[in-house]
């Protein structure tokens, strides 16, 4: 082994909401050369952390110094009247704090990526509450697991092997003691990993959930079929759910972003709440970005609200559908965009992207992405959890400390430091 080779254990993976913290990372000459325990995506993310990097700040595509870039950013923000700050879910919590501070200073809007993923989940929670789950509890106790509108085999590759198919204190033989169902509109790769695949018709989630709820409550329904499922099959499902000792529902974007949206989530929550009168049931959104749960949390304690926050009046107001990034862009309201650790140009609807094209965009990201191509200013940053430390929140609310395992490329700073510099520079510009 060469002298410059070292191994770091218990490294959290900053890709998906599982935040698996058991990676063993080997480093040689300051570069990651091996990732043991990580899934295929994790390996790609860590071993490929140098791919596609932007190594110098750019203004209109031309390399500039960091100071010049920051100065230019401050001028853009100072001359804007309705700044949108967006992203945050793929960076660590300290960067969030700086972003809210800027939003408050210039009375802008700050939103995170949950507005286009589990935002409807939060709306569901706001109408009904939520009996949550936690991952080790599921592993230790849950005897019936349902994935609904979620494909962990592709999006959260270790979710099933690490938390579900592993033995827990009271589930000694997960094969025997635990049943896994998948409800989806198509047979995904996850279907191969479960005991039962239940295929429903597209856009019928709400009906199926409401039917299950009615059946759990003991109502007799005068129909033969709902959402492509025979009523007898639904009855059997409801009975089975009632007789579980500890059930868990994991749900994904198939539920939040399909027809029904937050109504689907509300129906799912009410189903789980009704089941709670019979036995133990819990639920958990399958959060995608590794720190999207953290973005909701930091926003909540610092602004009072989980996303879609507007400081126009000097105090935070909350209005999803109005202060959410897609809406404020599609409505043509935002006159500048500060994007941190996300790629709205790649993911937003066309009318939102059309507006992004018209306004100055400041893009802070370690890598070159679609948004970089449109950005007036690009500032590269260190990758949180690889090149700088920080804190993030697992999909079930557990905070995890992220490690710095290698140095960032020369001259590249963490998001939080870039944002602090922007704030300080902005203070100077605003005083003038």
């Amino acid at each position: 082994m060469s002298e410059t080779r070292k191994t770091i254990e218990n490294v959290p993976c900053t890709f998906c909401g599982c935040l698996c913290d058991d990676l063993i990372i080997e480093i040689e000459d300051g570069q990651i050369v091996k990732n043991t325990n990580g899934c295929a995506i994790s390996k790609e993310k860590l071993l490929g952390c140098n791919e596609n990097r932007l190594l110098q700040p750019l203004i209109n595509g031309s390399p500039v110094s960091l100071d010049d870039a920051i100065q230019h950013v401050a001028e853009i923000i100072a001359s804007s009247r309705r700044l949108l700050i967006y992203g945050l879910s793929s960076t660590e919590n300290d960067a969030h704090r700086e972003a809210y501070k800027i939003a408050e200073l210039v009375r802008g809007v700050v939103d995170n990526t949950s507005s286009v993923c589990h935002g409807p989940t939060i709306l569901g929670v706001q109408s009904s509450g939520e009996p949550n789950a936690m991952l080790a509890e599921v592993r230790n106790r849950s005897d019936l697991i349902i994935y609904w509108g979620s494909n962990p085999a592709a999006a959260h590759p270790r979710h099933i092997p690490r938390y579900i198919k592993k033995e827990g204190e009271y589930i000694k033989d997960p094969k025997e003691d635990r049943e896994i169902w998948l409800v989806d509109i198509r047979r995904t790769t996850t279907a191969r990993m479960v005991n039962k695949f239940i295929q429903i018709n597209p856009a019928s989630d709400l009906e199926v959930l409401l039917t299950l709820r009615a059946l759990v409550r003991g109502h007799v329904l005068d129909v033969d079929e709902v959402g492509g499922l025979k009523i007898d099959q639904l009855k059997e499902m409801a009975e089975h759910m009632k007789s579980a000792k500890y059930g868990t529902l994991f749900f994904g974007l198939g539920l939040t972003q399909s027809r029904g949206s937050h109504r689907n989530i509300d129906a799912a929550i009410r189903l789980i709440q009704d089941l709670s009168a019979h036995t133990k049931w819990t639920m958990m959104p399958m959060r995608g970005h590794y720190n999207v749960a953290g973005a909701n949390k930091t926003s909540t304690w610092m602004t009072g609200y989980p996303y879609a926050v507007d400081y126009a009046r000097g105090y935070p107001r909350y209005q999803p559908g109005e202060y959410t990034a897609v809406d404020i862009l599609a409505n043509g309201e935002a006159d500048a965009l500060l994007n941190i650790a996300s790629d709205p140009v790649a993911h937003f609807p066309i009318d939102a992207v059309e507006h992004i094209k018209k306004i100055p965009v400041i893009n802070i990201d370690p890598k070159i992405n679609m948004t970089s191509k449109l950005a007036e200013v690009n500032i590269p940053s260190a990758i949180a959890g690889i090149e700088c430390d920080g804190a993030a929140t697992r999909m079930d609310g557990l905070p995890i400390y992220l490690k710095k395992v290698i140095d960032p490329p020369e001259g590249i700073l963490p998001d939080r430091e870039i944002l602090r510099m922007i704030y300080n520079s902005l203070m100077k510009v605003l005083k003038k």
Partner: protein, 582 residues
């Protein structure tokens, strides 16, 4: 030195030092109260003002995942309470669950300087430290939860109190805790399978141990370690009509615990309003048979000195109930006919069934709510020893902390109580003695129940809760002259002045003046780090690492809150617990 201040001519209430309304100068230097200052010290004339130590809130839920869940689930509770940012302070919302910045500011405005968050799930502590970064103007203590942890259960089952003490010590050091909180021991664990435990000797599922053993073992471990704050207990059977009986049984069961200091209580019973519900004669444990047990419990309290308590006073109006007592929260949700929102947050291994959150509204037209309101007042007005009785609302359960001035006014003014008894349901007059009580708390007694007593009970009385030499210069100045103003006859003045201190000093720095916060001061965190015998420490760390490896799904190495989140905030006190053998 230019940070020296002398507060002149104020009328001082400092019960810990036996000062009861004397005109007295107070000298401040370097954040501390000192005997004298140099001639260049800044002078503030407080003629006609009342001076007390900074307020100490020993039980308030201001941070953590349950508070964030409440904020996220109920944006409507904050929508109409904007709080504007200023040049020196941050903006936010100030409803039932204010955001972190405003939480600190609102406490400063009322003259509070020290608070304790009494429900910290240890494995989630990192988030709490991140939040504290954003809670200005306060000294904060954290009480980690132990009463339903599988690790606690293992030591209880093996009868290994030394091992349990070492686990507590490890947690306090790893997460920066001040003491030990126990919520519904065993009952919340039973909630992991939809159950609850209401009686002392009902076995916990899968473990074959009882709440009696869990509570007793934890209280013993706390005393073995010699922690400054006794076990902080939310008992079993909370919120059940007639539960004063089970609560007294639980307190009786703890009588045999030996305190590490002579004359010290061994348990703090928290939010007695929810723990001491009475029942009419020949009644059943149903809401229609509810009666106040305030006086009955005061009689027990006056006779039995082995415990202290706080009120958890119910105030009328919207509240946010949140406790580590998941099954109670579920029953509250069911009580609303399933109409309310209900969230449940399990904490793996440490609180398996989970904490619950239900927004609620206490209304004076309800007989049950009215009697629940009368109970803690009836209790507080019948206790002999206010040094063991602390004013709280169990924020935001009984009411938000912003309602403390109203509670203080109820305690101080029979006139105001009379007005509220009129507003409340008439059963208050039949099933409680509140309307017959003449007693009115004096200012000295208010200073005890909101300052001196909580500081003493928390074991931080060296620097908090008083104005003697060496104390932290946490000082509240109220803008009334107690010699000239008859407070009891003018309860609206009590509310006015206690809502808005004339000045609040925190560590010698003026943070608020007449409702305006002028300084955004970083919080500090008080923690206890017990030093263990090496042998015990080695054994315990190995056992804990094994249990974390087996039961959790994140690593032992990543459990401890890293120094970078703590070192600029934490003021650890090391205590010697090396006498506990391996």
């Amino acid at each position: 030195m230019n940070d020296e201040i002398v507060l002149k001519n104020g009328r001082v209430f400092d019960p810990m030092n036996g000062i009861n309304g004397e005109i007295k100068d107070i000298c401040i230097s370097n954040g501390k109260i000192v005997e004298k200052v140099s001639g260049s010290a800044k002078e503030i004339d407080l003629k006609g003002s009342t001076v007390m130590p900074g307020g100490v809130d020993m039980h308030t839920h201001i941070l953590g995942s349950k508070v964030n869940m409440a904020r996220m689930m109920c944006p409507e509770t904050n929508r109409h309470s904007p709080y504007l940012a200023t040049k020196n302070t941050r903006g936010g919302v100030g409803g039932i669950t204010p955001n972190s910045y405003v939480t600190g500011y609102l406490y400063s405005i009322m003259g509070y300087t020290t608070v304790v968050e009494p429900a910290l799930p240890p494995e989630k502590a990192l988030s709490s430290w991140e939040e504290i970064e954003d809670i200005p103007g306060l000294d904060i203590g954290l009480l980690p939860l132990f009463g339903n942890s599988m690790i606690t259960f293992r030591y209880i089952k093996e009868g290994d109190v030394n091992g349990l003490a070492a686990y507590i010590a490890w947690i306090l050091k790893s997460v920066g805790g001040l003491g030990v909180k126990v919520v519904n021991p065993g009952g919340t664990y039973a909630w992991a399978y939809g159950g609850n435990i209401r009686e002392l000797d009902t076995p916990v599922p899968q473990w074959d141990i009882t709440p009696r053993q869990i509570m007793h073992g934890l209280a013993e471990a706390v005393e073995l370690l010699g922690l400054p704050h006794q076990m902080h207990l939310h008992p079993n059977n909370l919120g059940k009509v007639g539960n004063v009986e089970t609560t007294i049984a639980q307190l009786e069961a703890l009588k045999s615990v030996k305190g590490h200091k002579k004359g010290r209580s061994v348990v703090h019973l928290t939010h007695m309003a929810f723990d001491c519900l009475g029942m009419v004669e020949d009644g059943k444990p149903e809401w229609k048979y509810l009666a106040s047990a305030g006086e009955e419990f005061a009689k027990y309290f006056n006779k039995n000195k082995h415990f202290t308590t706080d009120l958890g006073q119910i105030t009328f109006g919207p509240v946010m109930t949140m406790t580590g007592d998941g099954p109670f929260q579920f029953s509250l949700y069911q009580l609303t006919g399933g109409k309310a929102k209900w969230a449940n947050l399990p904490v793996e291994v440490e609180l398996p069934g989970g904490a619950g959150i239900v927004p609620f509204n206490f209304v004076p037209t309800s007989p049950a709510h009215s009697l629940q309101w009368a109970t803690p007042l009836e209790f507080a007005l019948n206790v002999d020893d206010i040094w063991r009785c602390v004013m709280t609302t169990d924020h935001p359960n009984g009411g938000p902390f912003m309602k403390y001035p109203l509670v203080i006014a109820w305690l101080m003014s029979k006139k105001l109580r009379g007005e509220w008894i009129e507003k409340a349901h008439k059963l208050v007059q039949e099933r409680s003695h509140l309307s017959e009580i003449e007693r009115e708390y004096t200012l000295e007694e208010i200073a005890i129940t909101t300052r001196a007593a909580p500081a003493k009970i928390l074991g931080i009385e060296r620097t908090k809760g008083h104005l003697g030499i060496g104390a932290d210069a946490d000082i509240t100045v109220y803008g009334f002259d107690s010699e000239k103003l008859n407070l009891a006859a003018n309860p609206e003045k009590i509310i006015k002045h206690f809502s808005q201190a004339k000045y609040t000093f925190k560590g010698g720095v003026q943070v608020a003046k007449k409702g305006v916060v002028g300084k955004h001061l970083h919080a500090r965190v008080f923690s206890i780090h017990p030093r263990l015998d090496d042998g015990l420490s080695i054994r315990s760390e190995k056992e804990i690492a094994d249990m974390i490896g087996k039961w959790y799904c994140h690593s032992y190495e990543n459990y401890t809150v890293p120094a970078r989140y703590r070192e600029h905030l934490e003021i650890p006190t090391e205590i010697d617990s090396t006498s506990i053998s391996a």
